[in-house]
């Protein structure tokens, strides 16, 4: 059984993967600065209703609105975005993005569960192949890319899916 492609990617992929896996952790742990200001009742009420309509929690919505409010897009840029957003391709993009994000999360969780059993799975695989060999059934033993995996490969998967961070520099890269 042969699966094409490398099981783990280069540092760039590793970084992007980390971005997703630990996005929430990173946001939470990043240094925060608190601002506390008085604003008119009408503005506060509008913000409250705006976030409520979109099912966004105040804790997430207020910093988001401030971030968006500080954006420096020109009127032309906003107009261009508006036209683009109303196109059919854009409508598809919203849907595709949501589906892909959900599926990526599903794979992430499923892979995490499998990686936690990876050592056992590989041990069992080698044991079964050994037994076939002892029975003289060499012809039935498949050649697999995981035959050559050592501890560093398993560790890399652990770092990727279980710990959600890059493996230490000393860890060997996968082929």
């Amino acid at each position: 059984m042969k699966i094409k492609g490398k099981p783990l990617r280069d540092d760039g992929h590793q970084k992007r993967r980390n971005d997703l896996i630990s996005a929430l952790e990173a946001i939470e742990s990043r240094e925060k600065v608190c601002i506390k200001v008085t604003i008119p009742y009408e503005t506060a009420e509008r913000v409250r209703l705006f976030l409520k309509e979109k099912w966004i929690l105040e804790s997430q919505g207020i910093p988001l609105l401030i971030q968006y409010g500080l954006s420096s897009e020109s009127e032309e840029e906003l107009e261009r975005l508006k036209r683009e957003m109303n196109s059919k391709a854009a409508h598809n993009l919203w849907g595709e993005y949501a589906v892909m994000k959900f599926k990526a999360y599903e794979y992430l969780m499923e892979n995490k569960a499998m990686v936690m059993r990876l050592s056992n799975m590989l041990y069992e695989n080698r044991l079964l192949k050994r037994r076939l060999q002892l029975k003289g059934l060499q012809k039935l033993i498949p050649k697999d890319e995981w035959d050559s995996w050592d501890e560093s490969v398993i560790d890399s998967y652990y770092h990727k899916y279980v710990f959600g961070k890059s493996p230490p520099a000393s860890h060997g890269k996968l082929k």
Partner: protein, 104 residues
């Protein structure tokens, strides 16, 4: 440590508490200085702008992260296929050995 709005009596000014990451806070501070406004007026102006362009900026954000999510999705999918292949192969090898044991 949550951003929130604290309302007093109806019609009276409310208190807005926001926890911003450092880069957003720096942009906010620059905005206050550049526009010679009070922090309160700046927040109001910024919130209005954020609400008015919310969907446009959300769309821009999604466009930017679409390819990133797509690459991650493909990477996770490939790993998933590989990990499942090990499991499946173990089951197949067990079946072969069981059959061989029965024959032998």
């Amino acid at each position: 440590m949550f951003s929130r709005l604290v309302f007093g009596k109806k019609g009276e000014p409310a208190v807005l508490e926001a926890f911003l990451d450092k880069s957003t806070y720096e942009r906010f501070r620059d905005y206050v200085i550049k526009n010679c406004l009070s922090e309160s007026d700046t927040v109001v102006k910024i919130l209005e702008h954020g609400m008015a362009n919310y969907w446009l900026l959300e769309f821009k954000q999604i466009k930017a992260s679409y390819m990133h999510i797509k690459n991650l999705f493909e990477e996770f999918k490939k790993d998933n296929e590989l990990l499942k292949a090990i499991q499946m192969e173990n089951e197949q090898l067990k079946n072969i050995l069981e059959k061989a044991d029965l024959k032998g």
